[in-house]
């Protein structure tokens, strides 16, 4: 049961990263590839009908954590207090940037909303990577199960780290680049003409950076936490995960070359999926590791809710997610196809 819930939480987070990832990426690119008002409107229209549903995956993920592993939720959320609050403020800016733009027909206001959307998307992608880096690196958990991280200390990976150190900054950068490419693939799928061309060009330009960062992050992760390989040594089939990650990077390159936008988008989705699966597989059964004393780790065993709650939860959670999957399929089908560049009507008018 604990094993299942660990993977359900991981699945929620992965789904969130893959889904909100492409609209975050679209936001990062927004000011960059879209020059005219019509183009900016088009970029917003590619994410407009779906971003809110994507963000519900974050809410549902947070709720799932709260319910399944209350200790992790309590300790992690209060310990990462400052970065989480910053993420919340960025989410506020991002939501109004996307949704309120269409209500005001003024270049000044539209510039303001475009700025909100782009800057908050950029910082969110960076911070999500930093957050993941922190979970992998570990935090100074106290005996009572709590900790509190300052935003930075000496930028080193020591027993008293800050939220930002050299390792988590690398993690932030890889998230930023990966989501930028993912978003560029999405915008390429959904647009034609100049926007499509610029997105493709941007995705190709960043591809090599992503390959380099992937290797750097792998190397730096294993150098600060070599014990993460333990699960891989025990279950050698797990080595298939990094192989798939490498294959997805190759697929991105090939399909980018061939100009197959949909396949490239699927390849970047697979990249995000298997990077996160690889990390989760290395973590299990730990949920949050202590940077000082392994005995203080928060694991699925000491953090989980009662077994009755988890069994009941499994039933309604599966049912609810199945229905939600139905909505997603329905909505994405309704809004499938490319968004036109011109035209005076649509989401972001």
């Amino acid at each position: 049961m604990l094993f299942i819930w660990f993977w359900l939480v991981a699945a929620m987070i992965t789904a969130y990263v893959m889904l909100d990832g492409f609209d975050l990426g679209a936001g990062i690119l927004h000011l960059w590839i879209a020059k005219t008002d019509a183009e900016r409107r088009t970029v917003i229209r590619t994410v407009g009908p779906v971003w809110d549903g994507n963000e519900v995956a974050l809410i549902a993920g947070g709720g799932t954590l709260f319910f399944a592993f209350p200790l992790l939720y309590a300790s992690g959320f209060s310990g990462f207090y400052l970065p989480l609050m910053i993420i919340l403020w960025l989410l506020v800016l991002r939501g109004i940037g996307i949704e309120l733009r269409m209500h005001l027909n003024s270049p000044v206001w539209r510039g303001f909303f475009d700025g909100c959307f782009a800057i908050s998307s950029f910082l969110l992608a960076l911070f999500y990577g930093v957050a993941l880096g922190n979970v992998i690196r570990g935090v100074p958990l106290q005996k009572d199960g709590y900790f509190f991280l300052p935003l930075w200390t000496d930028w080193r990976v020591g027993p008293e780290p800050g939220v930002l150190d050299w390792y988590t900054v690398i993690a932030g950068l890889i998230a930023l680049v990966a989501l930028t490419i993912h978003g560029a693939h999405y915008v390429a799928v959904k647009t034609s003409g100049d926007l499509n061309l610029r997105s493709r060009r941007l995705a190709s330009a960043f591809w090599l950076v992503l390959v380099l960062l992937t290797f750097i992050s792998l190397w730096s992760t294993l150098s600060i936490r070599p014990e993460l390989l333990a699960n891989y040594r025990r279950h050698t089939f797990l080595y298939g995960v990094p192989v798939i990650v490498a294959a997805s990077l190759a697929a991105m390159f090939v399909y980018r070359r061939k100009g197959n936008d949909k396949a490239a988008f699927l390849a970047s989705s697979a990249y995000l999926l298997f990077m996160l699966v690889g990390a989760a597989a290395a973590m299990y059964p730990n949920l949050l590791v202590s940077s000082t004393e392994p005995a203080l780790n928060i694991t699925v065993y000491n953090a989980a809710s009662g077994s009755y709650a988890l069994s009941i939860g499994l039933i309604f959670w599966s049912l609810g997610m199945l229905i939600a999957l139905g909505y997603f399929v329905f909505i994405y089908r309704m809004f499938k196809g490319k968004v036109s560049a011109g035209g005076g009507h649509g989401y972001a008018d």
């Binding site: 809110d52 959320f77 939860g313």
Partner: protein, 451 residues
């Protein structure tokens, strides 16, 4: 600085601001379904225009509700970690259910409702509106279940380490407190929706703009308003009061300003509670009414504050005023809406300028009443987080010191001030544009063309 106070203010400020938006969207969701139903049955385009206009208002409020709502879920963990750790297995259930059953539904079909009208049949568009309504009302239920469990914990057992474990899923979902509180709360949000809709109708009539639409807004708003302002008092408010007197008697005593137990207790209409001398100053009383309202007979004894140790008293003046403001405004809503409904049935409402002015000026009042009602519930529960079991001072995040708490509280205050200004500006903008936009000119079109 007091850490507990900062964490409490943090939650109080963010939840109070947040709830300004859902109370309107939940109420409007129902009224939009009414408008869409009228459009379907009468084939009169004016109802579709009205639904589209209120859809735009809904959209702005919805997005503010979303962006201010995400911090609420996070705050259980960030600011109330000890509470979350102890109760996650119980109230985490409705919180997850809200996400997977309500929010996915609501967000999926809101996009379709706002931007998919041209692609859908009229009946299909009605369904989109209806499913948005179902989603928003479901989310209300799940979050009320979480709050009701804190007010009246059921279906749990407590482990030796203090952690609460769920023992019955259906017991949690069918908590009688939740059913009563939900009915009362949702009726309150329809009142907000009804006053806003009728108030805007009154505004347009007084301005002599969009007259036909204004009459629809007034008619729908007043009819919904009269129904729900009565339901708000009876049966939902009445039941809630009776249930509270039995399960949180000290709260009832403090709400009513009843310092000493009394058989045939009077109800205090007006007066200022003087906690030091344990009396009400300048009281305006109606004898025996409190006993009658709580226990159904004029002679029943109602427990006063003197029966309870001071450690379990809530903040008496704050609770007393919250409660009296809620009840006073609730009474005014019945009076205003009943009078307006009579004028409507005599076909004199649209000409009665004095009544239009009253309705227009009443628009802020349901917001105040709903806020005061929630303050009554939450202040009334103090000093407990989980009533009788977990104290508020045992629930906050001890690892987040007051300096950090104040930093983010100030951050939220600044952020929300900006949001409030933006919100008022946008509402003004929409109201000035009015409901006569054509479908397809600016909205209500799917962003799809080239396949």
């Amino acid at each position: 600085m007091d850490m507990l106070l900062i964490h409490r203010l943090h939650f109080a400020f963010t939840i109070t601001f947040h709830y300004l938006f859902p109370q309107l969207t939940m109420g409007l969701a129902l009224l939009i379904v009414v408008l869409k139903t009228l459009a379907l049955h009468t084939k009169n385009e004016i109802y579709n225009q009205a639904a589209r206009f209120w859809g735009r208002i809904f959209g702005i409020n919805f997005i503010l509700g979303v962006v201010t709502g995400i911090p609420m879920e996070f705050q259980f963990g960030t600011n109330w970690s000890q509470f979350s750790r102890g109760t996650g297995g119980v109230i985490g259930q409705p919180v997850v259910m809200e996400g997977v059953f309500a929010f996915f539904l609501e967000s999926a079909f809101l996009g379709l409702f706002l931007y998919g009208e041209k692609r859908l049949t009229p009946r299909g568009h009605w369904w989109a509106a209806f499913l948005v309504f179902v989603g928003s009302w479901l989310s209300g239920y799940f979050i009320i279940v979480a709050d009701a469990w804190m007010q009246h914990p059921v279906a749990f057992e407590r482990a030796p380490d203090g952690v609460f474990h769920l023992t019955s899923f259906w017991g949690l979902l069918s908590n009688p407190w939740a059913l009563i509180q939900y009915a009362h709360n949702m009726s309150g949000s329809v009142i907000t929706g009804a006053f806003v809709m009728a108030g805007l109708g009154a505004f347009y009539l007084l301005e002599e703009k969009f007259v036909e639409h204004a009459r629809v807004f007034l008619r729908v708003g007043v009819i919904a308003g009269v129904i729900f302002s009565i339901i708000q008092v009876f049966p939902t408010g009445d039941l809630h009061g009776k249930y509270m007197a039995r399960h949180q008697p000290v709260t009832t005593a403090a709400m009513e300003g009843l310092f000493k137990s009394e058989a045939g207790a009077p109800i205090v209409i007006l007066g200022q509670p003087d906690v030091e001398h344990q009396r009400i100053d300048n009281p305006l009383l109606v004898n025996k009414v409190l006993s009658f309202l709580t226990y159904g007979t004029t002679t029943a004894e109602v427990k006063g504050l003197d029966e309870f140790p001071k450690e379990v008293w809530p903040n008496i003046p704050l609770l007393y005023y919250s409660y009296h403001i809620m009840v006073g405004l609730g009474t005014i809503f019945v009076a205003v809406m009943v009078a307006a409904a009579f004028l409507l049935s005599w076909k004199r409402l649209y000409q009665a300028r004095w009544m239009l002015w009253i309705i227009l000026l009443s628009v802020p009042l349901p917001y105040i009443a709903n806020t005061a009602g929630w303050m009554t519930a939450e202040i009334g529960r103090q000093p407990w987080l989980v009533y009788g079991l977990l104290r508020t001072n045992e629930g906050y995040s001890k690892n987040v010191h007051a300096g950090n708490g104040l930093f983010t509280l100030l951050g939220f205050m600044g952020m929300y001030t900006m949001l409030a200004i933006l919100f008022l500006f946008l509402m003004n903008h929409e109201i000035a544009h009015g409901p006569e936009r054509e479908i397809g000119s600016t909205d209500a079109v799917l962003p799809i063309t080239v396949a």
